[in-house]
């Protein structure tokens, strides 16, 4: 008989931010120590993952219980990954994040790779968010970043392939899926993902894979794209001048809504980003803050997670 190995460590999935960020399905066994999983549209059943990207932000926040929580974001070619490290996380992970945060404050630019646990939560409004709890964090050089891009692109392509093969046979059960050439480690996730996401688009992942491959191959010219054009307050028609004195509350509301609409990559937009962008458009922090409150009160925006805002659709 095979030895029972029920306490095996969960492998780390290679996944891009977009696939992870768009996941809305989770699974948790009934037992106290059962692992929990985030299941992506492509059927990755993620308890733990290996992600990398440009470290964009790390901030300390006080939690209600008086502990310090470090929140931050990593950017890969497909979008942003959000992570947080608290007092209950391994000391080494906390120390690493602190060290990276200091380097970031000193203006350094760096790639970070992390092994992290997938987290999943649902707001009272029903919106579902994923984030990461880092276990081991390292700063990596660009060559390791490009190896990660290539590996993650490869793993994503394998999932896209399995996703396609699974469509016609998923209803016939795991045996039929194995028959259709789907690797056994993708069968449990796809069995859950296909019915849940039912027809949700996955083609964007192919695009992100191609961008990642271009970057890994050093073809930067191929991946440059035009910046998203923000409909800027006081834009060209009045000569690009600064906003007029006493820009009205109406204006502030509209600009704020436009900012949120443009900057939201699926997880909402954080408070600080909004305040700064409002600042850049001539609205001071106080006005921006009251604008947020006003929009929240009138029901135009949501605060699904503390300090993160989304438009009500």
């Amino acid at each position: 008989m095979e030895p029972s190995r029920n306490i095996r460590r969960q492998p780390a999935w290679h996944v891009f931010a977009s696939e992870f960020g768009e996941a809305t399905l989770n699974e948790k066994g009934p037992g106290e120590y059962d692992p929990s999983f985030v299941i992506t549209r492509l059927g990755a059943k993620i308890n733990r993952c290996l992600v990398a990207g440009l470290l964009e932000r790390v901030e300390a926040r006080e939690t209600s219980s008086g502990q310090t929580m470090y929140q931050g974001q990593l950017r890969d070619p497909s979008g942003l990954m959000y992570f947080s490290v608290g007092d209950y996380d391994p000391e080494s992970a906390r120390e690493s994040i602190l060290g990276l945060s200091r380097a970031l404050e000193e203006g350094e630019t760096m790639h970070v790779m992390m092994i992290a646990k997938a987290r999943w939560y649902q707001t009272d409004e029903g919106a579902i968010y994923t984030s990461l709890r880092p276990e081991e964090v390292v700063r990596i050089d660009p060559s390791r970043y490009s190896a990660w891009l290539a590996r993650t692109a490869n793993a994503t392509l394998a999932r896209l392939d399995a996703h396609e093969r699974a469509q016609p046979v998923v209803s016939e059960g795991p045996a039929a899926m194995a028959e259709a050439g789907i690797p056994s480690h993708l069968v449990p996730g796809l069995s859950l993902a296909l019915p849940h996401y039912d027809g949700a688009s996955v083609e964007q992942y192919r695009l992100h894979v191609l961008q990642a491959l271009d970057i890994a191959e050093g073809r930067m010219d191929a991946v440059r794209s035009e910046p998203a054009k923000l409909p800027l307050h006081g834009s060209n028609e009045d000569g690009g001048s600064a906003p007029a004195e006493g820009a009205g509350t109406e204006d502030a509301n509209d600009v704020m809504k436009q900012l949120i609409a443009t900057l939201d990559q699926g997880q909402g937009v954080d408070y600080e980003t909004l305040i700064r962008n409002m600042g850049a458009r001539g609205f001071d922090a106080g006005l921006a803050d009251t604008t947020l409150d006003a929009l929240f009160d009138e029901g135009s925006i949501l605060e699904p997670n503390f300090g993160w805002y989304r438009l009500v659709e």
């Binding site: 092994i115 276990e135 795991p174 990642a212 191959e217 850049a280």
Partner: protein, 568 residues
Amino acid sequence: MSDHPYGDHVALVLESCPDASEEDVVKAFRQYEEEFFIPPQDAMHSIIRKLQVSASPPATGKAAGAGSGSTRAAKPMRKVERLEELKGDDQNVEITVQLVSHNVREQTVRGEQRTIAFGLLEDQPYDSSTPSTRWEYKDWAPKSELRAGSIVRLEGASVNEYQGRRSINVNKSTRVVVLEEGTAPVVVPGEPMNIADLPKEGNVCVVARILGLRPDVIHRRDGTGSIDVVRGRVADDSGSIGFLSWEPLDLEVGQLVKIDGANVRTFRDTPELNFGRTTTIEAYHDAAFASAEDLEAASAQTIADLRDGARDVRCVVEIHEWQRRTFTRDGEERHLWSGQVADPSGRCRMSAWEELPIAEGDLPVTVRLTGVRVRAWQGVPDITVDNADQIEVLDGPPWEESIDFATHSVEVDFDELAEGGGRVGVSTKGLIVSIRDDSGLIQRCPECRRVLRDGVCQDHGAQDGQEDVRLRLVMQGEASTISVFLGRDAALALLDTDLEGLRAAIAEHGAMAWVQSLRARYLGRSATLRGRLLVDDRSSMFMADALEAIDEDGAMMATEARAHWEVA
């Protein structure tokens, strides 16, 4: 500013950061792109952030909800799906299981003769996607609803824990709800089966020839005496199986017999026939039945086939290392010979309790082993030779290729390795996904070599530890992980340093920062490793003789991925 491809991006950045110079912004975009492979659309956010003087926003009071405190009130009925969720002292449990086997037996309980039933059950009978766990059960007041193969819901069962093994007790008060009648084949008494088709547990009948027979003694664990038994091996065309008889046998090697009412029990990883009072063994006549010689030849095994607990094993191996060790037991000096053997399928250890006619100068020596047994230590087989007459020295190996023992490592796919049993002399390739905090210098107990925690050994108390080096890693393949240990030599070789250098490095940075520096070097990288995989009930670990990180070329990997998946 000279021409650059970042026009609109620069304009946007300047809009957010009016104080920055265009030159700096272009430089930043160029640096992100050339040094960090970040396209301008992705770099913009970071650059704005960097250039803006941080005006930290006013912190607002409220915060995310408090952690979910789990309150666990004692529930009258504990309903679980998996056996693993049960603790040793759980009472009043509800679980749905499939009965793998069901045997009825008379037993004396507190001086009273009682009928009880026992067997094996499996959890999650309706979930084929996850492996089921098997436990033993006892039914103290045998219920007619319990039958081999049935799927039942037990309500009000309890857990029994004895010497770390948990089992299920079906009590008088336990309610049994039959969800599905047993469909498992019920073996008809008297209907012989092929040995190869025997179930892992259950009552069977076979027609087979006796290949081996020898008296043995089993000592009761509690020291209340010993039982005389007979061990041996029987075979038919389909295979062979060892047996253990609790009754004296009046049989001869080579005799063909029909054995009815034998019980298959799986000891360690090896099934075995058990003969008891209710087993009938009678002579059988079949002129067409394979001869003892043919059956013996067919039952020879290779090292890769060896499983823990196997007895009466026949195989041919090459002995490559052979040493005598001396130890003292009960004041008497005794010897044990042991060494390393190989055949084309792999390597393993061999031990002998008697001196064998093998001189160290003659190695390698090819020998035929007959009637030997196999013990496994952490999943790695060790052939045990009890008597010198179990071996026969051959002139040379029966296989053609020569085995170079030093490099005899078999390359195994990572996931295949992770799913299988213990292996010696293997190499594989995987990805380093964790470097554990307790890597580095450790203190070992001078008595038992166990690692001391805060200077204290689990068994031997406070000790002056012996310093040693150990690295603990986790590596993964496509879908599985293996814990990897590097001992002193392998660790120092990987780090390209000596003990002094390692001590100095750890002293300089502190243990935690030193481990972090290892992560910075190795986390997320591919590596090859060579060594042995040890497997026990709880886990598997790879003891690496060597680990080598691979330098990977992302551009090359990307091109390969394009080719493999046929994407432009």
